[in-house]
Amino acid sequence: MRRIYLDHAATTPVDPRVAEAMAAVYRDAPGNPSSIHDEGRQARALMDTARERVAAAIGAEPSEIVFTSGGTEADNLAVRGTVAALRHKGDHVVTTAIEHHAVLDTVSELEREQNVRLTVLPVDRYGRVDPEDVREAITARTVLVSVMHANNEIGTIEPIAEIGRICRERNVVFHSDAVQTVGALEVDVRRLPVDLLSLNAHKFYGPKGVGALYVRKGTPFARIQTGGGQERDRRAGTENVAGIVAMGAALEIATRERAIESPRLARLRDLLLSGVRDAIDDVVVNGHPTERLPNNASLCVRGVQGESLIVALDLAGIAASSGAACTTGSLEPSHVLLAIGLSRELAQGSLRLTLGRATTDEDVDVVLGELPRIVSRLRAASPVA
């Protein structure tokens, strides 16, 4: 059976050009980038190039890029590092109800274990944070504001430029988890007033297990793990050279192709959403009507269980998700869907279809053929979800 992969928000397939660049490192560059010898220098040079590429893609200086094991580590490093570095100055953190668990669970642990005071801001029904809420939440004790660039479940893009300006006026460090946007949207830290930005390679056709944190020069910062002095003493541990090289290649390609690819995806997504609305009764589109990721279609189908929907779609050859891949297995409705005001019942019928480079018009047609059939079967089987 031909498979249709519509779960690009969970992960993207590695671009073959990226895989080749990665294989070349494993094949030809065996050194440790911290070593003095020729092998070490070669590995270091490859990594330097990758750092330049990642930096260039977001308008940063290479020295402002700290490579990590992925988005979760970048978020942890941003939140824990800032709180640790500014402990003398304050103890208050502001974030939102729809952040990824890598941020939310980190700040709640800091609240429990280190007496950090926490303000979790609500969002409107589209999932947008009101910048004025951020302004009001900031106090003299505030050390960090963390608001994601775009939500991984519902695709809503947050007004981070405005939030960043408010933080700058108040001299508060601003972190944004941009894992879902870098590669898909223009993100330029020269224009965007962010101090810390999380990136993740496998969301832009790079490999899993590598990411980065952008740290604006001059931002107070403390490392969170001890060991060697890699990454200018900001992240201990031998670097994942092949992964870093691949991340550089992947982001360069994504940035180059973005101008054509993102509008193409947005058109397909709109076809998908309008087709679903036409063919299925009682379906709600989650997220902002316009301010949303080009590839994200997030829905709630009344009267069905998301889990059943995903299984039935998979058996029909379509890979989808009912929300964040990280929380699969629990029937607890998503915190994001509850935060935008959906009932638990409706939130349990969530379906996230996220498009990617391989997605075609024909794929959308197949989904629009299968999905209504599956939904009516599931509704007939369980009149009440």
Binding site: E307, S308, A312, L315, L331, A380, A381
Partner: protein, 351 residues
């Protein structure tokens, strides 16, 4: 045929999947998540580790695999009933409840109605045979030592016609393990799971938390009504139990019955223990009711040897008249056999 296999993570259900695949069916593996990962309550094949074993077995066979969440159904129909039985002075049978409400009701229903399956298979040691008219009969496993047909007595035609039990046709467990080894399944050497999945853990502690009333001390009485001492709570006792009464009277005493309303244990000598008449509720028949009254062989416990009895049905249940006295705890299933065929059964009540 598109067959969904309920995989427990053990060797039997893994081999069931492998056999159906060999027979050319389109096989899909499903595992039921029955308890939250960190739960300390009664658990079954629903633990995280069991799910991982099932996932690996499915990957070795190259079949699709889904972990489906049945926590709610399991909690309501198995765990709640399990602790509720303690409060009623009954001895619960969670395997029967799990089969009846979770595997062959919720899961089978979903497989057929939601996922487009033609049949459900499990790794039970029992057999389903087909009559020329399309009817299905539930029978004992070929290997009598492993037979689990007792725990499936509640299945009717709507279940049996959609059920495949390939393991029950194998000669013995050794054959199951040989097939597992041939398919490279790591479960080939995994130890057998407990027959009753609740045994082993601290299930009485769990019941104590959920129904503290069943663990409040109460009187121990003789069958003539004499007070003989106190017990630590009816939840800790089973009809027929001898040990643990904590009273010394010179003769061996057994729990004859439990009276939940008075929190009383009624005890007596071995000669008072057996009864020939029991009351049954929730009667089920695999094919059809054999008549208003019928002679049958009845198994009174899991892997118990069937004994001769007469069953007389009425509108509320049935009387079970045993030819020889026997001791059965309320809550247990009485399963009717005719030769190797399971005819039906019911739950023994306290009256």
């Amino acid at each position: 045929m598109k067959v969904f296999v309920a995989m427990s993570g053990g060797v039997d259900s893994s081999v069931a999947a492998a056999l159906l695949q060999e027979r050319g069916h389109e096989v899909v593996g499903v595992w039921m998540r029955l308890a939250p990962a960190a739960d300390t309550g009664p658990r079954c094949c629903g633990t995280f580790e069991a799910g991982e074993d099932a996932r690996r077995a499915a990957a070795v066979l190259g079949i699709p695999f889904y972990a489906l969440n049945y926590e709610d159904v399991f909690g309501r129909n198995v765990v709640d009933r399990f602790v509720g039985a303690y409060a009623e002075g009954e001895t619960p049978n969670p395997c029967v409840a799990c089969n009846q409400y979770v595997k062959f009701e919720a899961l089978l229903g979903d497989v057929l109605a939601k996922f487009g399956g033609d049949a459900l298979a499990t790794g039970h040691y029992a057999r389903v045979t087909r009559d020329p008219d399309g009817g299905a009969r539930l029978r004992r496993a070929t290997d009598a030592q492993k037979d689990q047909s007792y725990a499936l007595y509640m299945l009717g035609q709507r279940h049996l016609r959609r059920l495949l039990l390939p393991i029950g046709e194998l000669a013995d467990k050794a054959e199951t393990r040989r097939i597992a080894a041939r398919h490279g399944l790591a479960t080939a050497t995994k130890p057998d799971s407990q027959d009753i999945c609740f045994i082993g853990g601290d299930y009485r502690d769990f019941a104590r938390r959920r129904v503290p009333d069943a663990f409040v001390p109460g009187p121990i009485r003789s069958s003539e009504g004499a007070e003989l001492g106190m017990h630590e709570g009816i939840g800790a006792y089973t009809v027929g139990q001898r040990e643990g009464l904590g009273i010394a009277t010179g003769e061996r005493l057994y729990v004859l019955r439990i009276e939940p309303s008075a929190r009383a244990l009624v005890v007596g000598g071995r000669d008072e223990l057996g009864r020939t008449r029991y009351r049954l509720r929730d009667l089920r028949f695999t094919v059809t009711t054999p008549g208003a009254a019928f002679d049958i062989e009845v198994a009174l416990r899991y892997r118990g040897t069937p004994v001769s009895a007469e069953v007389r049905l009425d509108e509320r249940g049935a009387d079970l008249l045993l030819h020889e006295p026997a001791t059965v705890s309320p809550g247990q299933a009485a399963v009717f056999y005719r030769g190797d065929e399971v005819v039906g059964g019911g739950i023994v009540t306290s009256s």
